[in-house]
């Protein structure tokens, strides 16, 4: 508990905010993208934006694993559960992501598909062992953080000789997405981002080394930050300092968990089981080269895509949805016409409204009161 308090101390936060205010140069703008949904969530939940001086602007990036899952892949998962009769095991947030035809995994479940919510991929493996007569598929999603666990269960399934278990692999890669955001803007020098708050959990696995080439090539500072509110504030201060001094390197605020090399063992596991996909369709970003993983041929029996001959079909996002622009940092959730009216966390239209790490859901849940002119005054 002590551990949490240290990173939530209001007084330290106010001191940090005061320092920030003195160091931010008047008239200069600092457009900082927090790549991770975890940071988006922390910023909203702790009301951190109120502490930032004018000039510092936070832009939500595509680092919410649920938000970037394209409709076509959810459709495939639904087909597996509904038409192939498998037990589909999935993380809770994924259940509510809108798919084609007004469906979602949750609605498919209500219509009789055997979809089960699990807290970890171990649970999926357990379900497979408990139901030897049924096919069990784990819907693997997430960035580098969750990938090693998926690798481990695939190896466990192989060691156990399980024949009724497979993984529908949708694991994606962070650095590739960051590069894509810079590249997709056309001329990299014109990009209106000044720095990145780098991923926390992802970096515990891959280390901070992989961002060094990025920072150098695009001349954008990256500060790897933990998910506690003070981590985020501290990393913003570090970014502002780099920008002021014209530096663009990778700094590590999250030293208590992240090293340059990361977790070598986890990386080795991932490399044993997975290989790079040439291309992966991200919701909002479209086709991104070398940005995702698939299961190696040695583990083909555990690859649901091969096992069920699944072919990927691209499905466009709903017309009204501005998720694509939001994930790239071009727009704010409030810029979407259906935000908070047609699209709400209870009835999400786009994926950013589903998980609490999604930019739209975070803004709806924690910040939307700021959009509405308040006559609210705290009475004496």
């Amino acid at each position: 508990m002590k551990y949490i308090d240290e990173f939530r101390d209001g007084d330290i936060a106010r001191k940090l905010a005061a320092t920030l205010a003195t160091e931010v140069q008047p008239g200069r703008s600092y457009r900082l993208m927090e790549f991770c949904g975890g940071h988006t969530h922390a910023i909203s939940r702790y009301g951190l934006l109120d502490l930032l001086p004018p000039g510092v602007q936070m832009i939500h990036g595509p680092g919410c694993p649920v938000c970037v899952l394209p409709i076509g892949r959810i459709d495939s998962a639904i087909e597996l559960a509904r038409d192939k009769g498998v037990i589909l095991c999935t993380y809770a947030d994924t259940l509510r992501v809108p798919a084609s035809g007004g469906l979602s995994l949750m609605r498919a479940k209500a219509q009789g598909a055997d979809v089960r919510m699990v807290y970890s991929c171990d649970d999926a493996l357990r379900i497979a062992r408990e139901h030897p007569d049924r096919e069990v598929v784990f819907f693997g999603i997430g960035f580098e953080t969750t990938t090693p666990m998926t690798a481990v269960v695939i190896q466990q399934a192989a060691a156990l000789g399980l024949t009724n278990f497979s993984v529908f692999c949708n694991h994606v890669l962070t650095p590739a997405a960051m590069v894509h955001i810079m590249e997709s803007e056309g001329d990299p020098s014109r990009v209106a981002l000044d720095g990145f708050v780098g991923p926390a959990h992802v970096s515990t696995v891959i280390g901070y080394g992989p961002y060094e080439g990025f920072a150098q090539h695009y001349r954008k500072p990256v500060v790897i930050a933990g998910f506690e509110p003070l981590d985020v504030l501290q990393s913003i201060l570090m970014l502002v300092r780099q920008i002021n001094e014209g530096r663009a390197i990778v700094e590590n605020e999250f030293t208590r968990a992240v090293t340059r090399e990361g977790n070598r063992k986890a990386q080795a596991r991932v490399a044993e089981v997975f290989e790079l996909r040439e291309c992966f369709d991200w919701r909002g970003l479209g086709e991104v080269p070398d940005s995702a993983l698939r299961i190696r041929a040695e583990y083909a029996t555990y690859d649901a895509e091969r096992r069920y001959g699944m072919a990927y079909r691209q499905v466009p996002d709903p017309k009204a949805c501005e998720c694509a622009a939001i994930l790239r940092g071009h727009k704010h959730p409030r810029d979407c016409k259906v935000f908070g009216t047609v699209c709400t966390p209870d009835h999400p239209i786009g994926a950013c409204m589903v998980s609490s790490e999604g930019a739209c859901a975070a803004h709806y849940t924690y910040g939307r009161f700021k959009e509405i002119p308040l006559r609210a005054e705290v009475s004496a």
């Binding site: 508990m1 905010a17 502490l51 509110p229 966390p345 910040g367 939307r368 006559r375 609210a376």
Partner: protein, 346 residues
């Protein structure tokens, strides 16, 4: 009444005959329910209970609640005492003095009678402690697989004295919001037992009947605007109900909201927000600003309100938003929960 074969409370299981209306059902009711809930009304074995109203005037209040908690037994309580406390508290939160309870059981075929007895004994104790007898009830048995062991519905009746008018629509800007103690204990205790989630915690459910505390509060500040026990949905749900009923906003201060370190840590681990976690023995009160300090003193002098705190106030806001000043000095909304934080917990 004599039976050739006594109920096997050690190894026996509920079977369909226990709900059939025949001898086995009569035996179950007599040997288990009547025996433990024992009182004159129940002994009469009617389908309903006739009882006198207390002298004086007032309005009747009736509340009912169904209980489907999983697991059935948890640190600090079980579905039995919970079903008694929950309904007593619902009556009390309407400003009523709870007088009588009715209990309906839906039992699943195969449910061990020993567990049922544990639950019934726990209900009987809870009712006795609260001094609110269970005067009538009903039992049904459903086939195996069609229930979750035991479902219990309890209904309570009470009397609200004249002059008491609890209604969240009466909340006005400036009114103060108070809570009676640490939040989230019940929800965390239950979650600690969930399959796949099990973690070690010393946290026990706070399940308790709090009509005594409510009565003291009403006696001290009859002008109380609203009372509510923050069960499912936690404090956040209550505040949002209040705000939308009253058509005003609410601001609370994170620092002032009592949450135990262990609960905060467990929530952190599970990715939950304690404001949304269930409680079973706590209340939220709203009173005019000028009564707040006095009410706080009264609450703190009651054992169930020792850790009471003033956590915020109602403000002018036609949108009815609930906001929180974070420990950081920033502000954020405390919105209704979307979906569920986790599978149902009470």
């Amino acid at each position: 009444m004599s039976y050739t074969r006594p109920l096997d409370l050690k190894h026996g299981r509920v079977d369909l005959s226990h709900g059939s209306g025949g001898r086995a059902m009569a035996q179950l009711i007599h040997d288990l329910f009547v025996r433990h809930f024992d009182n004159d009304y129940l002994r009469a074995q009617n389908d309903g209970a006739c009882f006198p109203l207390p002298a004086g005037t007032g309005r009747m209040v009736m509340a009912t609640d169904s209980h489907v908690v999983s697991p059935l037994f948890f640190p600090g309580g079980d579905i039995g005492c919970l079903s008694v406390h929950g309904t007593i508290n619902d009556v009390a939160m309407a400003g009523g003095k709870p007088l009588y309870l009715a209990a309906g059981f839906i039992l699943e075929e195969g449910f061990p009678l020993a567990d049922l007895q544990r639950i019934v004994v726990s209900m009987a104790e809870a009712a006795r402690e609260a001094d609110v007898p269970i005067v009538t009830g009903d039992t049904k048995v459903v086939e195996q697989g069609k229930g979750d062991g035991v479902f219990i519905t309890t209904t309570g009746i009470g009397v609200v004295p004249d002059g008491i008018l609890l209604d969240p629509r009466r909340i006005q800007p400036g009114d103060r919001i108070l809570v009676s103690g640490y939040l989230g204990d019940h929800g965390v205790a239950i979650m600690s037992l969930r399959e796949n989630l099990s973690f070690d915690t010393a946290i026990k459910s706070d399940t308790a009947a709090i009509h005594g505390l409510a009565a003291d509060m009403l006696a001290a500040v009859p002008g109380l605007r609203a009372l509510r026990d923050p069960t499912r949905g936690g404090l956040a749900a209550v505040l949002n109900e209040f705000a939308s009923a009253a058509g005003c906003g609410i601001v609370i201060r994170e620092k002032a909201v009592p949450v135990r370190d262990e609960v905060a840590a467990a929530c952190e681990l599970l990715g939950l927000d304690p404001l949304y976690v269930a409680n079973e023995g706590k209340l939220v009160a709203v009173c005019p600003a000028e009564d707040a300090e006095h009410l706080l003193d009264v609450m703190r002098s009651h054992p169930q309100g020792r850790d009471a705190a003033i956590i915020g106030e109602a403000i002018v806001d036609p949108n009815g938003f609930v906001q929180m000043e974070t420990t950081f000095g920033g502000r954020r909304m405390v919105d209704w929960l979307t979906g569920e934080q986790l599978p149902r917990i009470c």
